[in-house]
């Protein structure tokens, strides 16, 4: 793959003169061959050999420094693209991918046809690829590397992998070498030995690997993306471009998705539509919901809103050939009770409004207030994204039934420094202060209300604040505070304006 990437990007190795191309890597102060193209392989070069000896074997060789991060990114991109064949794609670094095609092969007309389709698509994109299908991940990997194109019938893995060389077991170089030296040149020959002998000599891990290659033991593979709980997809024989058509498709997909979810009593909290472009690009658009959702029309409308609001609009290029709608997160949705009470309907309307606005402007912009159990003014009530808020049990302290309000209606996130003038009573409010270049004369003041920063929370050891509610001669009401305690000889304390009262 690395040389394919290089050729696609720079054209190195595409020349008809068949100059071998190798990628080199520095390993323990020696330059070694990390990857090679087909011409280099034909010339007898091997991965892992020293670059110096490679140069000795072939005269004219094109050496390029290996770029591992780029290889990794390429593999990720290919994995994204492979998502169209099966949602279960796992990386098999450095250069392999594993697809769980259970239940997906019939979409392509059987395993053979599916393998041919995938291999054909890779070739068209300029990748040399080996592929195989087997019941276990290790068997498939061994077959792909040493018997390209093989399909092991279910239960037939042992027989199919038996003729492969021992190296296909993917053991340490040392162990492989030892097995070959002992005359065990194929997997079949290794498999014929007693397991306890092998275990004693090579350890448990090696036996497990052997069993897996024989299809007798499975190792779970983890997909690179979370498998959606529910998904529906539509393939198009001809790539589609029309926005209208796509919107219609989403609604239809939503209908089939909701049907399945309804059977299980689930509703979607996070939905994702994946648009697979015919040239391999994949775009995924997510929509969150405030409560479990199972209404196709609403889902379609939310995606519509989201697509309209994208700063980087959906680019169909030459068209999409697959659209998949998946419910990534679901929650139990209790059947709605039809009561005389109008509230549930209203709650539903609110949830839809929240989803709509969040889809349009971003879920971080659609907020709800939640009380916090603290007296720190700026933390006592916080605005949290409405879709993630649990608004079932929000309880604000009952207002103290005595006027006037003790907290401002507008509060500055960052208290603004003010200049105070005039001799104040040591612990009192300033008679005059300047905020934003306007001087205010204090005619009424109430305070101090001493708020100590909670020492058990690390608020960067913020000093205690003395808050004052002050009113100027025009009736403007401010919330000021003085930082720190009044002590003789203490450094001059600073004043801030934290909020404005109605």
């Amino acid at each position: 793959m690395p040389t394919d990437r290089l050729r696609r990007k720079t054209g190195i190795g595409a020349a008809p003169d068949k100059t071998p191309v190798v990628l080199s890597l520095k390993d323990a102060n020696a330059r070694i061959v990390y990857a090679l193209d087909i011409n280099a392989a034909r010339a007898g070069l091997k991965v892992g050999m020293a670059l110096a000896s490679a140069r000795a074997v072939v005269n004219a060789v094109h050496v390029v420094e290996a770029d591992l991060p780029a290889d990794r990114a390429m593999l990720e991109a290919i994995a994204d693209w492979c998502d169209r064949y099966s949602p279960f794609v796992a990386l098999d670094p450095p250069h392999g991918l594993l697809l769980d095609i259970t239940g997906a092969d019939h979409l392509f007309g059987g395993e053979q046809a599916m393998l041919d389709t995938i291999r054909g698509a890779f070739r068209k994109q300029g990748f040399l690829c080996h592929g195989a299908i087997a019941g276990t991940e290790a068997a498939a990997r061994a077959l792909a590397r040493f018997a390209d194109g093989t399909i092991a019938a279910p239960g037939d893995e042992a027989a199919t992998t038996a003729p492969l060389p021992t190296a296909a077991l993917d053991l340490d170089e040392k162990d492989t070498h030892a097995l070959v030296r002992a005359g065990l040149k194929t997997i079949g020959m290794v498999a014929a030995r007693m397991r306890n002998e092998l275990m004693a000599r090579f350890g448990k891990e090696m036996v497990f690997k052997l069993e897996r290659a024989l299809g007798k033991r499975e190792k779970p593979i983890s997909p690179r993306r979370i498998l959606p709980a529910y998904s529906a997809e539509r393939r198009f024989a001809e790539p589609v471009v029309s926005e209208e058509f796509i919107a219609g498709e989403i609604q239809e997909l939503a209908a089939s998705l909701c049907e399945v979810m309804e059977e299980r009593g689930q509703g979607a909290r996070l939905l994702e539509t994946s648009f697979f472009r015919s040239d391999g690009e994949v775009r995924r658009i997510e929509v969150e919901t405030a409560r479990p959702l199972r209404d196709p029309a609403t889902i379609a409308k939310l995606f519509r809103t989201r697509l309209d609001a994208l700063t980087d609009p959906l680019d169909p290029g030459f068209g999409f050939d697959l659209v998949r709608l998946a419910a990534v997160q679901t929650e139990r949705q209790v059947p709605e009770s039809v009561g005389l009470d109008a509230r549930p309907d209203e709650e539903k309307e609110i949830a839809y409004l929240i989803d709509r606005l969040a889809a349009r402007f971003g879920s971080h912009r659609m907020l709800l207030f939640q009380p916090q159990d603290t007296h720190i003014p700026e933390a006592a009530g916080v605005a949290v994204p409405a879709q993630h808020a649990d608004d079932t049990d929000i309880k604000w302290d009952a207002r103290n039934n005595v006027d006037p309000p003790r907290r401002p209606i507008r509060m500055f996130e960052k208290p603004e420094p003010i200049d105070v003038f005039g001799a104040a009573v040591p612990d009192g409010a300033p008679p005059r202060f300047t905020w934003r270049n306007v001087q205010h004369r204090v005619v009424r003041a109430e305070g101090p209300e001493r708020l100590a920063m909670e020492w058990w929370q690390s608020y960067d050891h913020k000093p205690t604040r003395d808050y004052f509610r002050v009113e100027d001669e025009a009736g403007r009401r401010f919330w000021l505070f003085r930082e720190g305690l009044y002590m003789h000889g203490a450094p001059e304390r600073r004043w801030f304006l934290h909020g404005l009262f109605a």
């Binding site: 209606i409 507008r410 306007v438």
Partner: protein, 265 residues
């Protein structure tokens, strides 16, 4: 021919609704009393729900915020309030403070906040939200005088509000009045506390009703009673009531004063 004419009529219906003066009083919902007797006498019995109201800041934006919150609280009933505010406003005028709302007797859990990046988004969101029947009121905060907030935009808000009966309130800090389709326009200044109070009293506004589609204008001292959630005539305040005055005069003078206060916060 007849059907063709009807068709053309249908096409223009939507456009006409935006261009024609707003009519159709038949769909009007009953007014909700502010609680301030003199103001209610000039208004059609109180604040009309399902229309657009404008609240301009005469000096401090916080006073206008409080007054707008009070109006919203009056009209919203048991329904929720959506407060749309712009990112810039949080820096200039401060963030809406939930504990402060709570102290004003407005349940913070009934308030939804939408933060938008600019006036265009705020107006779009407001238009969308006015179609949500479960909302009681939408406060859209639009500081300054952006081009996008013109006569047509206010007409659109009025129509949107009338459709589902959700009251729209445009909160306009540091802005000067412009032609608009609003039902009422208020210019709010702070009002000094009553002399005899030890502590300062309830929130008190010097509220000038500078535009009233249904009657005279006026200027009153209005106090917000946090416990009962109503406006009231302040007791024992120095008299500043100007009573009903001619609309043009109040509008003109308010405008002149507004300019001085535009940048004052």
């Amino acid at each position: 021919m007849d059907s063709l004419l009807r068709k053309i009529e249908g096409v223009f219906e939507g456009t006409r609704a935006l261009l024609n003066p707003i009519s159709g009083e038949s769909r009007q919902r009953p007014a909700i009393a502010t609680g301030h007797a003199d103001a209610d006498a000039v208004l059609p019995g109180g604040i009309l729900p399902g229309v657009l109201h404008e609240v301009f800041a005469g000096d401090m934006s916080a006073a206008a915020s409080g007054f707008a919150a009070g109006l919203a609280q009056r009209v919203r009933g048991q329904k929720r309030l959506l407060w749309i505010r712009q990112d810039y406003a949080a820096l200039e005028h401060g963030e809406i403070c939930p504990t402060g709302l709570n102290e004003l007797g407005i349940d913070p859990s009934a308030v939804l906040i939408l933060r938008t990046a600019n006036a265009a988004d705020a107006l779009k969101a407001a238009a969308d939200a006015l179609s949500c029947i479960a909302l009681g009121a939408v406060i859209a905060e639009v500081p300054g005088n952006p081009k996008i907030l013109d006569l047509v935009a206010t007409r659109r808000l009025t129509l949107g509000a009338r459709n589902k009966g959700v009251t729209a309130i445009l909160l306009r800090p540091s802005a000067h009045p412009e032609p608009s389709a609003t039902e009422t326009r208020w210019t709010i200044r702070t009002h000094v506390s009553a002399e005899h109070d030890e502590d300062w009293g309830r929130p008190c506004f010097d509220a000038a009703l500078v535009r009233n589609r249904h009657g005279e204008t006026g200027r009153w001292a209005m106090e917000w009673n946090c416990d009962d959630g109503v406006f009231a005539k302040p007791a024992g305040h120095p008299a500043t009531d100007h009573g009903p005055v001619a609309a043009t005069l109040a509008d003109g003078s308010a405008q002149a004063e507004d300019r001085d206060w535009r940048r004052a916060g």
